[in-house]
Structures are given as C-alpha cells and as structure tokens.
C-alpha cells in the first residue's frame, strides 16, 4: 500500500515534468553545456598541465630574464678593439667577425650581473632567426643554443641532433608533413630532422611579432653546439635566470636605476611568470581554466536559478495537493523523496552527458591549445576533481535547492497550504519602487508591477541577456583583430619584401633604405623605424589621412598603438636610448594604422645617432621579392599575411562559436523566462481577457516590460562593453605589452541588434501562443492569487 502511494508521487512528479517538457529539456541543455565546457577545458588543460609541470622541472625553466642591448658600450668597444683588434658597435657585428671575442663579452656581462645579483643563476640564451622554405612556401625558424643549466631542451620524439642534424617542433612538422629523417635546406646547408624538440623559455612562440603565435607557421630548432656556432646568422641574446636565495619581488626591487647606470648594456628585468614572452603563456592557460570554470558556473547558475523557478512553480501548483496529502497524514519525506530522485536523475543524465562529451573532446581541444602553446602533450585521464566540479557540485546544488524549496512548503500547516493567504511579499518589498513610477502611464505601471512581482526572475533574465549581449559584442569586437594589427599595416604599405642586413647594409640597390632597431623610449620598449622623407613604399599618415613623412624632420612620429600603450601624445618630449646613447625628441604626430610599439624618425638622424654615419641603414624595403641569399633575413609580406590568415581562420571560427553560443544561451533564457512569465500570470491574463483586453494589450502588459527591459539592457550593455574592452586593452597592454585592438563599430552593434531582436522574437513566440490559447474559465478557477 505504502509503495503504491510512493509510486503515485513519482508519477505526479514525472507528469509535472512531462507537462513542462520543453522547459525541462532546455534546462537539461544548459546543464549539458555547463558540464561540457568545464570538462573539455579542465581535462585538456589538466592533461598537459601535469606533463608541463614535470617538463618545467626537468628542463629548469627560467624564473626571469635579463634583457640586454646588442649595442656595445664604450668599455666593451674598447675591449673589442684592444683584445680582438676589431672596431664594432654591436655584439652581432662582432660575432660575425670574431665569435670568440663576442662570446667573451657575453660571458663578461654575465659575470658582472652575477656579482651584482649573487642570489641568482644566469645563463646566456642565444637565438638565431631565419626564413626558410618548405615546398616553395616560406616559414620562420628560431634556432636556440643547447642550454646547459637553464631552459634545457626537451626531445619529445626522436634523438638529440648530432652534426648535420636538426630537431624542430612537432606542431610545425605535422602541419608541413615533415617526418624524422626528412631534410631541411637552411642557408645553402642541408640538415636531417633527428627529432622533435621543445624549449621551456616561452619567448618562443613569438618570433618577430607578439601576435603571431601560430606554431604551424614557424618553428623552434635545436642543432649540435658546433652547427649552432657555425650557422651563418648572428644571434640575438638575453640572460635566462633562476632565483636561488631571493624572491622575485626582492630581485625586482634590487634592480633599480643604479643597475642601468652601472651596466649600460642592461635593458630590463622580465619576471617571466606573468609575461607572454615566457612561462607566462602557461599562466595564461591556467587563466583559461579559471575562465572555463567561471563560464560554466555562470551557465550552471542560470540553469540552477531556472530550476529554482521551476521548483517554485511546482510548489505553488502543488500547494493544495500537498495540503490535502498532509491533511491525510502523508509524511513530508514521502513527497520530497520522489522530487529529489526524479530531479536528481534528470540533472545527472544531462551533466553526465556533458561530462562524457567534454571528456571525449578534450584531446582535440588539447591539440588546439598546442597549436599556440608549445607544451608537451599529456594523456587525458579521469580526474576526480574535474568530475566533482562538473557533476557533483551542480548536482548537489540542484538537490539542495529542491529540498529546501519543498521543506519550506512542508513547514506550513495543511490548512495554510489548502487556503493560501494573499501574498504581500512582493508588494511590500517594492512598494516604494512602485510609487516612484506613479506619474507614468497606466500601461507602464502595469508593466513595472509585473516585473516587480518576480524580481528574482527578472534579475536572472537581465543577467542572462546582459551576458548574451556582452559575449556577442565581444565576439564582434574581436572580428578582424588580426587585420587591425599586421595586415592593415602591411596593406597600407607597398612593401613586398623587407631585407634585413647583417649589421649595416652595404650598397643594396634593390629598394629603399630604412632602419629598424629596438630602442627604449623613456622606459618603454619600442621599435624605431627610420624613414627617408622622399621614400614611397612606406607611407606615414595620421587618422585624417594627412601625410606625415614631411614631419619627420621636425621630430618623432609615434604609432597610435604606442600612444595607447604609453599614454604619450603630441607635444611630449621623449628620450630614445640604445646602450648609453640618448636622443631627446619631441613627438610631432601620431600615425595610423595600428603598428605595434613603433616610433618613426628621420632615417639620417637615426643613422647619425646610431652609427655615426647619416648614410647608414640596416634594412631594405622593396616592391619586388628580395633574394633570401642577399640578406641575413628576408620577410615577404605575402608570407606574413598568409600566416595571419591561418590565425584569422581559427579566430573567426572561435568568434562564430561565441556568437552562436551567446545567442543560444540568450534564446534559452528569453524562452524559459517569458514562457514562465506567462505561466506565472495565467490568472491575471485570464482576468484581463474577462475584462475585455485583447491579446495585443495583454502581450503589451505582460511582455512589454521585458521588451522595454531588453532595449534598456542592450543599450546599457554597449557602454559597459566598450568600457570593459578598453579596460581589457589596458590590461593586456600592461601584462603582455601589446594592444588587442578590439573595436566596437556601429555596424557591429546594428548586426548584433538585428540578431538579438530575432532571438527575442523567437523566444517570445511561444509565450504569445500561450497567451492566445488561454482558457478564461480554467485559468480563473485554477489560479487564484
């Protein structure tokens, strides 16, 4: 008899859910998405996180970096002259003439730094960059010396290269169909691929430009020590460091103004943990995990609040039934049990499905991450932590909410359940707010009254819509982000190739002379570009389209992004520094488009200052393809753009997923909440119909408030989004030293507004149908306020 009764309660809950099948299905979808997002990201990152931590430990990943200038200071130049008989201005120039001599200076610098900072270990890191071809297409390579103590190489597969061999990154090899044993032609020499290598110092994905991190278009490489030394490219270098008896903060404090005076070659200290140049990418991955957790919790929270509402609805609809059952002496647990069991099982099915699909998708996601991050792959295994967060936590919350909602009801006496009192809660709480709208039209006051009645639900609605609009606008703002960085810049020029000379160029006739050199501008790092006023391949214009080449005689022209990064503007005087050389210049104009941290200067002024020769230049711009053999390094605009294009495609797919996801979540929120709004208001709806209101009036009263709220929320989200994007730009500028040129254009807002409108129309379609179908007598009898 007892079990028969319980079966009936199960049936009651099941029928309730069946009646609201679409709401419950959408709720299930939200739970599925929440489980999927968290599991796929947590499992994929977790997999290579473990492998990476072991790898960082084994390879002694750097804690910090001392960046140093390539330019030799006075004492070093004197050393080179006296000890090696060479008069050279830079380490690279010296390296080309006398490798041993330059390495003595590198070691001497290291010793000086170690004397000053005895609680750290330092090792010189040398890197040689070059362009090379695979089946006719050009790619970039950075060959690194085989470090002995810090940032040691890690062979993922194959063997450490011996003479005539080279190890490259696996991502690149896979993308270019290269295998161990294949040959690579580098600068007239042929190397056999001996294996696949990784390095832990994460300035590595970034060659030439911070935004180009696609490891399928560029590779790191390892050679034998002899081959590296003999390879005919002068290296650039820095010192990788490990903290011994000092904390990062103390080291940062110890590096003061004196350091720059004492060591003219010293450029700056970079704590690599939080920097895109180094282990920072790893920190960024951890950030992604946190983001995934937040995002899935946000979705789960929306789902749980919707459950709360559905439960509140169930409770209200079941009040009298429960009252009668309580009056008949049925214990609370007999009624609570079936609710907990059915809701729990239902939630579990979707969470498990989300978890399983997420777990299965994790290896593919890991591969996607590894396209940008050069980290060792790990096995995707079952992780209790992921399982708990993805399933047990939301499930426990779901059951707790259900339990407390029901127990709140069961604390009432049977008679209170059967004959509920008039609710005064919403009214008392929002009386003051309601009075504030006293002067508005009756229709408007009605709309406010209906929103105020379920303020909790409206809050969820508002948060859901805000999140959907924000995510959508963010995606639109991301559109073309790469175009706005490199392609726009290169497309604005007529440069087909840039040929970089080893040191100063000598009699290159194939193009226009220019200088490109890293400098310090006040305390900021930047790139000085020396241009001739009469050159034609590299235009320089301001936002209004005015030609700025003529202004170079008057002072410094800075790029718009450099202006944004530093806050410097026209009229400011800045000091350019290279080693101990300094040059004060006034900023005379700001150039567009976005072009990194670039400052433009008259080439002869720059040449005179840097090389004591106003005719000097170190790069040639050409409107024809330059030969690889004639220069130390050649960058072809076309290659660069094709590289950006592949990143562009990945990003576009990512953006479409976010836009689609935002609209989908928004659609679910709008649908569930408007349908619930209609259901919650069956009684007033019926009453309005009795009083002679037509469907349009009722729709306006009930959903009109939500429609107005949509417009307000949409309009409010735009400035919030713009401010957030600006904050995001500043944050990335501070953290990673580059600007993400997010841009909210009126067309973006327009297109998204249209999509948003479509979403809300679809969402409210069902609500409108329900209003139309409403039966007066039934509603008036069933739903008494």
């Amino acid at each position: 008899m007892k079990s028969h009764g319980i079966r009936l309660y199960f049936l009651y809950v099941w029928r309730f859910m069946r009646e609201k099948w679409l709401s419950f299905l959408l709720l299930g979808v939200l739970l599925f998405i929440s489980g999927f997002i968290y599991t796929s990201i947590a499992d994929s990152i977790g997999a290579f996180q473990e492998a990476s931590e072991e790898y960082f430990e084994k390879t002694k990943q750097e804690d910090f970096v001392f960046e140093v200038s390539d330019a030799l200071d006075e004492s070093e130049r004197l050393y080179a002259l006296e000890e090696c008989g060479l008069s050279k201005a830079s380490l690279q120039a010296l390296y080309r003439e006398n490798r041993g001599c330059s390495m003595e200076i590198v070691e001497n610098r290291r010793q000086q730094l170690l004397e000053q900072f005895p609680d750290v270990d330092l090792e010189a890191r040398l890197a040689k960059d070059l362009t090379f071809a695979v089946e006719g297409d050009n790619y970039r390579m950075r060959i690194l010396n085989d470090a002995k103590a810090i940032n040691k190489s890690h062979i993922e597969e194959g063997e450490t290269p011996q003479a005539g061999e080279i190890a490259i990154t696996q991502n690149f090899a896979r993308a270019r169909d290269l295998e161990i044993g294949d040959s690579l032609r580098l600068r007239e020499e042929t190397f056999t691929i001996s294996g696949f290598v990784l390095f832990p110092d994460y300035n590595l994905p970034v060659i030439d430009h911070v935004l180009l991190m696609d490891s399928t278009h560029q590779t790191l490489a390892l050679m034998s020590d002899e081959d590296f030394a003999d390879f005919p490219v002068a290296p650039h270098m820095y010192y990788a460091g490990l903290l011994q008896d000092v904390s990062a903060e103390d080291l940062e404090e110890a590096v003061g103004a004196d350091t720059y005076v004492q060591f003219p070659f010293f450029e700056r200290l970079v704590l690599t943990e939080n920097n895109v140049r180094s282990g920072a990418i790893y920190a960024e991955i951890e950030g992604s995990q946190a983001f995934a957790l937040m995002f899935s919790l946000f979705i789960a929270a929306i789902g749980l609040i919707i459950i709360l509402m559905l439960m509140a609805k169930t409770v209200r609809a079941s009040r009298r039934t429960f009252g009668v059952l309580r009056a008949l002496g049925v214990p609370s647990r007999a009624m609570v049990g079936p609710f907990l069991t059915v809701f729990g099982l239902y939630g579990l099915v979707f969470l498990l499905a989300g978890y399983t699909v997420g777990h299965l998708a994790a290896p593919a996601l890991q591969d996607l991450f590894r396209m940008f991050y050069l980290l060792p792959a790990g096995d995707v295994v079952f992780r209790l932590e992921t399982f708990s967060v993805a399933i047990l936590a939301p499930l426990a919350l779901l059951l707790l909410i259900t339990y407390f909602m029901l127990m709140r009801l069961f604390r009432l006496r049977p008679v209170e359940l059967i004959h509920p009192k008039l609710s005064d809660f919403a009214v008392v709480k929002f009386k003051r707010m309601r009075n504030a709208f006293a002067r508005f039209s009756f229709l408007f006051r009605l709309q406010v009254a209906f929103i105020a009645r379920h303020l909790g639900k409206f809050t969820v609605y508002a948060v859901g819509i805000f999140a959907a609009v924000f995510a959508g606008l963010f995606s639109f703002a991301m559109m073309g982000v790469f175009d706005r960085t490199l392609p726009e810049y290169y497309e604005s020029t007529s440069i087909v190739s840039k040929g970089y000379c080893e040191g100063i160029c000598v009699d290159e006739e194939n193009g226009e002379k220019a200088i490109e050199i890293p400098v310090k501008i006040n305390d900021e790092r930047g790139e000085a570009i020396g241009l001739d006023g009469g050159q034609s391949l590299h235009p320089l214009k301001d936002a209004a389209g005015n030609d700025l080449l003529g202004k170079l005689d008057e002072g410094l022209v800075i790029s718009a992004s450099f202006k944004d990064l530093t806050g410097l503007s026209r009229g400011d005087t800045v000091t350019l520094r290279v080693a101990e050389r300094e040059l004060d210049l006034e900023i005379v104009a700001v150039a567009t488009p976005y072009a990194g941290s670039q400052v433009f200067i008259d080439r002869s002024t720059l040449a005179e200052w840097l090389f004591d020769d106003e005719e000097a230049y170190n790069v040639v711009y050409s409107d024809e393809p330059l030969s690889e053999n004639a220069f130390a390094s050649v960058i072809h605009t076309e290659d660069l753009l094709s590289h950006v294009e592949s990143l562009h495609d990945v990003f576009n797919a990512f953006i479409l997923v976010i836009i689609g996801g935002a609209l989908f979540i928004g659609l679910i929120v709008v649908y569930l909440l408007t349908v619930m709004t209609v259901e919650d208001h069956y009684y007033p709806l019926a009453l309005f119909k009795v009083l002679g209101y037509d469907n349009k009036d009722i729709h306006r009263i009930l959903l009109g408030g939500y429609e107005k709220a949509n417009v307000v929320l949409f309009l409010l989200t735009i400035p919030i989004a713009v401010l957030s994007f600006s904050f995001f730009r500043r944050w990335t500028a501070e953290m990673y030293e580059f600007l993400v040129p997010l841009q909210v254009l009126p067309t973006h807002v327009g297109v998204f507004a249209a999509l948003f409108l479509l979403m809300t129309l679809l969402g409210t379609l069902s609500a409108k149908r329900r209003i139309k179908r409403l039966s007066l007598q039934e509603a008036l009898t069933m739903y008494q306020e």
Partner: protein
C-alpha cells in the same frame, strides 16, 4: 440594455463524456432590471452567466444584447463588447495582488471611452481614501467592493455578478448586496446576479430558477425586500 437568449444549448465535451450544461434556454432580461438566477450547484447558472457575458460560446442558439448578436461575434468582437459594455463581479474578487486599489480599479477602465475616475468609482462603493492600499491590506468585504468598483468604472450597461457574496459572512454579504441594489438604482444598470442562496433572490425584481441546465421558473418577485431583511442561508 436588454438581453435575449433564444434556444441556447451549451454542451461540454470532456474526454468521452458529454455534459449538457444548458438545455434549450430561453430568457429575456429588460433594460434596468435586477435579475437573480437561482439554483443549486451544477444547475447551469454560472454557465448561463458565462455565455451571456461573452466569456464562453454557445453550442447552439442565439444571444442578443440589444441589437448585438453575441453568438455571431468572433473573439475580437466579443473582447471589445465586454470591454465597452459589460461589468463582472466574481465570488473570489479576483484582484491583482501587485496592484494597489486604484490601479485595480483602473484595470476596468483600460481602453474604455469616458470611464469614471478610479477615485469616483471608489467613492461610489464607499472606499474613499483606499486608493494606495493593496489587496492584502483589505478585508474580504473591502476587496469585493474594489472588484465592484472595477466593474463599475467603465459605466457598464450590464453588470454580471457570479456569487458575489459567496466568500463573505452574513453581515459583509448583506452590505455588498445593499451596495449593489443602491448602485442599480442610482445608475439604472441592468444587473444579472447568480447565486445558490435563496435568501438573496428576495432582493431581485425577477427570479429565474434553474435546475439541470433548464430554466424551471421565471417569475416577477412580488415580495421584494431590502438586503438587510433577507434570511441568510
């Protein structure tokens, strides 16, 4: 405004069972009359009120209110007709808890030409100064007065009352009936009141008795009494 029902049938078909709620009903109510429809539960009196008030459709027959043939109207026309011409008072008051008294009354005036001010309607039902109160702050009798004010604010030609005292005690119930008879006299509104309480029927000009979906008696009330004098059942 007169009401005329000719051969009205209302058959509810729920699952496989057919229920004949109204069977061949003929009825005429003259302008300004106060008619009570009296009958036990299930006699069809509420159904009669629903179809006459345009809240439900008939299965067969014709309903006219003056020259308007309600049975030929579609949903939109019925809505418009109800909005402009008819007032309803229910047993359960049906006030909206989130609206204050004045706003509840205003819901009855929405989209109506030249209605009373809500304050004026409240004055007519003796609720001066209650405008800002909310339903939960009122007694049952006061809530019913608000619902009457809501029905009257549009200046209806006909007032339909479905068991208006059904949820009230004797004293409050009689006060509500006094109010209805007073308003009927002052405003000359046609009133159709449905009740199972035979005592209440004594305040009417005419009494229509129903049983099993049929009108079994339709007579002028020759012993009309004031609400204070009725025997409360």
């Amino acid at each position: 405004m007169s009401i005329a029902l000719k051969s009205v049938w209302k058959i509810f078909t729920e699952t496989k069972v057919q229920v004949e709620a109204l069977k061949d009903v003929d009825l005429r109510v003259e302008t300004g009359e106060f008619v009570v429809v009296l009958g036990p539960s299930g006699s069809g009196k509420s159904t009669l009120l629903n179809v006459t008030g345009g809240l439900d459709t008939v299965s067969e027959g014709e309903i006219r209110i003056d020259e308007d043939i309600l049975t030929s109207y579609g949903e939109k026309e019925l809505l418009k007709f109800r909005r402009e011409r008819l007032g309803f008072v229910f047993q359960q008051y049906h006030l909206l808890s989130t609206l204050n008294v004045a706003e509840n009354v205003e819901t009855g005036a929405y989209g109506v030409k030249n209605p009373y001010e809500s304050g004026e309607a409240l004055r007519m039902v003796g609720l001066n100064g209650y405008e800002k109160k909310y339903p939960f702050e009122l007694s049952g009798g006061e809530q019913q007065r608000v619902s009457i004010a809501r029905a009257l604010v549009k200046k209806p030609s006909i007032l339909f009352c479905d068991e208006p005292t059904g949820a009230l005690d004797e004293k409050t119930g009689k006060a509500i009936l006094s109010l209805l008879t007073k308003l009927h006299k002052e405003l000359s509104t046609t009133v159709v009141l449905v009740t199972h309480n035979a005592g209440i029927a004594q305040i009417a000009d005419r009494i229509v008795r129903m049983n099993s979906g049929r009108i079994v008696e339709d007579s002028i009330n020759k012993q009309k009494v004031s609400p204070d004098e009725i025997a409360w059942h």
